[in-house]
Every structure is written in structure tokens, then in C-alpha cells.
Amino acid sequence: MHGHHGQHGLQGAVATPIRGSAHGHHGHRGHRVDHDGAAGRWIVLVGNPNTGKSVFFNVLTGIYVDVSNFPGTTVDVSQGRWEDDLILDTPGIYGVAAFNDEERVARDIIVQADMVLNIVDAVHMERDLFLTQQLIDMGIPLVVALNMMDEAEAQGLKIDLKQLEESLGVPVIPTVAVKQQGMEALKAAIPNARRGQIDPTLVTKLRSWYGTDDPTPEILLAAEGDEEMAARCGFPAMAAREELYLHRRQRVNDLIARAVTDTRGEGGFGETLGRWMIRPLTGVPFLAGVLVLLYLLIGSLIAQQIVGFTEKTVMVGVYEPFVRGLVGRVLAPDSPLSVLLAGEFGLITMTVTYIVGLLLPLVIGFYLALAVMEDSGYLPRLATLVDRALTGFGLNGRAIVPLILGLGCVTMATMTTRILGSQRERRIAVALLGLTIPCSAQLAVITAMLAGLGPGYAALYTFIIVAILVAVGTVLNLLLPGKSTGLLIDLPPLRVPRPINVVKKTLGKVKMFLSDAGPLFALGSILLSVLQISGGLQGIQGLLAPLTVGWMQLPREASTAFVMGFVRRDFGAAGLLTMQLTPMQTLVALITLTLFVPCIASVMMLFKERGWREAVVVWVGCLVSAFVVGGALSQLLIRG
């Protein structure tokens, strides 16, 4: 959602030709920077994904930035001050165009830049310098930070900096950002930013097409076929993207041939490990190992030991009696307000216990694990490994990103389905997310409950959910018209994640989760208390009895869990924790709740991203399949 704020703000800014007044539109998400007066330039950070851009932003501004680097995890723009200038961070991109959301966001900022600080990965100059040359061809003053110089050296790459600087025509500063090397030199070089060597062939072409040999970003992008930029600069868009791209590629290749000597050609152990992750024979066991580690961390250590302490000992043992006592001093125990605050579903009892005692440790654990996978470069390799399997659902490997993110937060994941290449893929992905993917909060409660039952039940649960995922995906792929897009991704080098980045990223995501889940939890608990006070809960329990007791063979109170499930599925799952259920009943209830409708926030996101018709179909589909599958399972397993 932040991306949207960013985009709106930026569109507003772009539409205003006078930059001074445009600054006001830029502020978003509390990072608003007041631009008093016309002083100060816009310094825009631009680079390919995984070049360490965020570290530069942090060094310059000191403001924390979420460093998600896998395409699509966030389209967020951070800004901060460095001396008198405004520093703007952009999403990692491979080139400036409008191929996807990230590129559009980056483009709209870049065209307004006074200068660009271009971060280049010294190990991957073939890829990164294409963007550098494009920025130069736009006529923007530039400084290049040639980052990860230590790695390039260790891998036997010899880089002739002088040659590189001459060929590009802009200052090139070698850096190792994570070790703070070269940062002072870089700061000192920023005032020396200058326009580089524009491709002479390009200049000739621009002269013949537009009668100018002094390109602006808008003019270059218009020549590359960007209609929007053409309209802005008043020149017609040319269908010359391919021609210009090929020229630029050739120029960059020649430049690298002059400036870089590869003395080894291979990248050491990281590269070998990367191969192992992709090859099914080694990649599948590796993935299994990752999942086991994940289970040991989240399912075993956190869900049992830590939550056992935080929830039972601290919250239920100490905190709840304490606040009940406080409320009891002021209010009569049966008064509606007392029930609302400190009753069975109380706002300051159950809600706080669930969020702080139960969910918080689990959510932290999950996001830590996800951040490590993201920052290490494992995710794109996982996408490659699972590509074949996902094509069976009409998806490609990239869809593993929303699916895995869904294990964190289905709302976030629904938004991320935008990275998928076609409407068809987005449709399939949101349906799978809504129906079969349990979010971290829900997964946490499920893991805790399954852990109590033993590995056999956990395996059975996983098998059933995966079977449903496969069945639904396959059927959707067969039924939906159209064609899905294929996989085409860059495999960044494997790198050991930086603990500080991982921790910062985790905290950012956890904060987002709390601000998203907190109000919904409160809403849910109020709803339940009101139902309880008014006797509505008994009514619903009675009404649902044929379904819950007759068809699914669960206790009457299980209806409460489903009522809560409408708000959040994990809320419902957590409600099951306190119930006396046989292991088979637990399994049936958990399967039903997993398939149950996504939380209110996800549904709202679903409406926003996919339109009301598709959202209604997904929602009703989840509801129906949850009860059909849960009941069928119960009839099959419990009656034998």
C-alpha cells in the first residue's frame, strides 16, 4: 500500500513542471520532508536489485530503509536529508522503462533528479552498466559507486578504474559499503557529478528525429517508445527501443572488454552452493532442510518453549489476573463494559494475550527467517527450482514469492501478486492464497496445536493442504482461458545476509503486522463480546450446530472459532487452542480454518486488487470449500 502512496505522491509531483511546488506532494508515510525554500538538490539513488543501495541510503541519511530486494516485495520510496539535499531511494531496477510497477516508480523519480548516485555491483558490471549507460544517455549528472570491490577482487576480477571513468565520463568511486570503505570519497565526489559520454550514435539519431542533440530523460525515454514521457516532452514516441537497447548493450560490452579482466571466470564456493540450490537432486533436499530449520525455529523453539512462557506464564498467569483485578475494582464483574474489557474475549485480556503473548514471538520468528532468505539470494533460486512444479498451476517460479509471503501475511502477498506477468496468473495466485495458504499468525497457532499432537498429524495436515493446493491450482489452470507468462529472472550472487539489515527489516515488517492486525483483533474481540452479552453467540452456535456438530463432529463451541475466523483465521485458530478436542477433531478444525475465508484486511486488499466480482467468488469459494472439505474429512476420519 505504501507503494501507492508513493506513486500518487510522485504522479502529483511529476505533473507539476515547477519542482519547487512539487516537493510538497512528495511526503508520505510520515517521512515527509519539508522543503523550505528552493535550496537543495534531489539526489536520487539508482541501482540494480542486490547492489547494496540501501546501505548507501543509510550512510547518507541515517534513516532506516526497508531493504527488500526481491522484485515486488515492496514498491517503496524512502527519502531523507543529506546536508541541504534531498536523498531519494528508488526500487532496484535493471533499466528505466515502464515494464512493471518498480520501473514506473523509479522512472518518475529519476526524470526529476538533479543528479543520480548510481550503485553498481563490481562483480556484475555486464548487467549493471546497461542501466548506468542509460542514465548517462538521459543526460543526468551522475556519480557511480562501484560497490563490492572486495568481492570482485576476491573473485579475480581486475578493474581498470581510470579506463572505466574515461569511457563513462563520470566519477567512479570504488566502495565496500558494508565495511564503510570509500564512503568518504564518495561523499566528496558528489559535488563533482557530471553528465557522461552519451553514445554518439544516439546523439545522431536524436538530432535526426527530434532536432536536438541535448537529451533529457523524457526525450531519451520517448525515443525508446515511452508514450507517457513523449507526451510530457512534446516529441513523438519512436519505436526504436530495440535498436537503442542493442546499441547500448554493444557499447557496454566494449567498455567492459576494455576495463575489466577476469582472471578466473568462476565465482568460488558461493557459486557452487547456488548451483546446488537449483538442481533438483540437491535443491529439493536443501529446501527440505530449510523447511526443517524453519520448523525447528518457529514450530518447536518459538511456538512451544517461548510462547509457552510468554503466553501461559506471563500473560495468562500474571498479566490477565492483574488487569482483571484492576477492572474488578471499578466495574461490577457482569456489567457489559467489564465483559467487553476483561471478559472471555476481553479487549485488554484476550486480545492483548493473543497479540503479545502468542503472535508477536511467532511473527518475529517468521519474518526473521524470511529476511534471511531474501537477503541471501535464496529466493530467486527457489523460484528456479519450483518453476516446473508451478507451471502445472498456470504460474511460473516467481509466484513462489507471493506464495511464501502468504505464509507471512496473506494481505501483503495479495498485493504482491502484481509482480506476476498476466491477469490469469494473478487470478490463480489470489485464489490459492485465499484458500490454502495460512499466514504466519495462523501458521503459528496451527504449528503449536499440531506440535502437541505429534509428527504424524503434522504430516497428515501438510499432505491434505498441499493436495488441495495442487488440486485447485491444476483445475484453475485447466479452466481459466488465456496464457500464462514464463520465467525470466536474474540469479543474484549468494551473499551472507547482514544481521543488522535482517533485524531492521524484521522489525519493520513486525511493526507493519501489528498496526495491521491490532485494530482487527480489537474489532473481533468487541464483536465477540457483544455477541456474548446479547446472547447472539449462543444463537449462532445453535444455528451452526448442524454444520459444526452434525456434519463436522466438533463441539458446539467450535462455531465461536469460525465466527472469529471471519475477522482473522488465526484469531479463529487461536480460539481452538483452549477447547477440549480429540486429535482428529483438532485436525478437522484446523483444516477447515486453514481453508476458511481470508482475514478482513486480505479481503479488502482482494477487492482493491482484483475487483468485487472476483473477490466475492474467492470469498464464497473459500467458505464453501472449507466446510465441504472439513466435513468430508470428518466423516471419513472420525467415523472410520
Partner: protein, 72 residues
């Protein structure tokens, strides 16, 4: 022949990429038409990993079928 027919370790020259969107992205990645690349990995019925310099790109099997190459 097409890219899906190459074997791991083969070096081939990219001749033609059908899909314009794939073509543009391939040029940015440095594996556009006319480039020599090595097949670094080939998953059973799955993606093909191409390598040029230190750059590695994974290409799904369906896209690989639409890319013409010749042995070098």
C-alpha cells in the same frame, strides 16, 4: 535449434527471441540476440540457466522453446 534443446555445458549463440518483452529484458541482462552464452544448468523439464561472464539468468522451459540458438 531452440534453447530448450541445449545441454548443460553447451555454449550457444542466441539467434532470435520471439517475445519482444523477453527480448528487451534479455538485452538488459546481457544475453540478447547475437550473444554467446553457456548453459550452466538445465532442470529436468524445468528452467535453463544461462551464464555470460558472472551473470546468470534462469529461463523457463516455455520461453526457451521460443528462442532460436546455434551451437558455437
Amino acid at each position: 535449434m531452440t534453447l530448450d534443446m541445449v545441454q548443460r555445458g553447451d555454449t550457444v549463440r542466441i539467434l532470435k527471441i520471439e517475445d519482444p518483452q523477453v527480448r528487451f529484458q534479455a538485452i538488459r541482462f546481457g544475453i540478447g540476440e547475437g550473444t554467446d552464452v553457456r548453459c550452466a544448468e538445465k532442470l529436468p523439464a524445468g528452467p535453463i540457466v544461462l551464464r555470460r561472464g558472472r551473470q546468470e539468468i534462469a529461463i523457463g522451459r516455455d520461453i526457451a522453446r521460443t528462442i532460436s540458438v546455434e551451437a558455437v
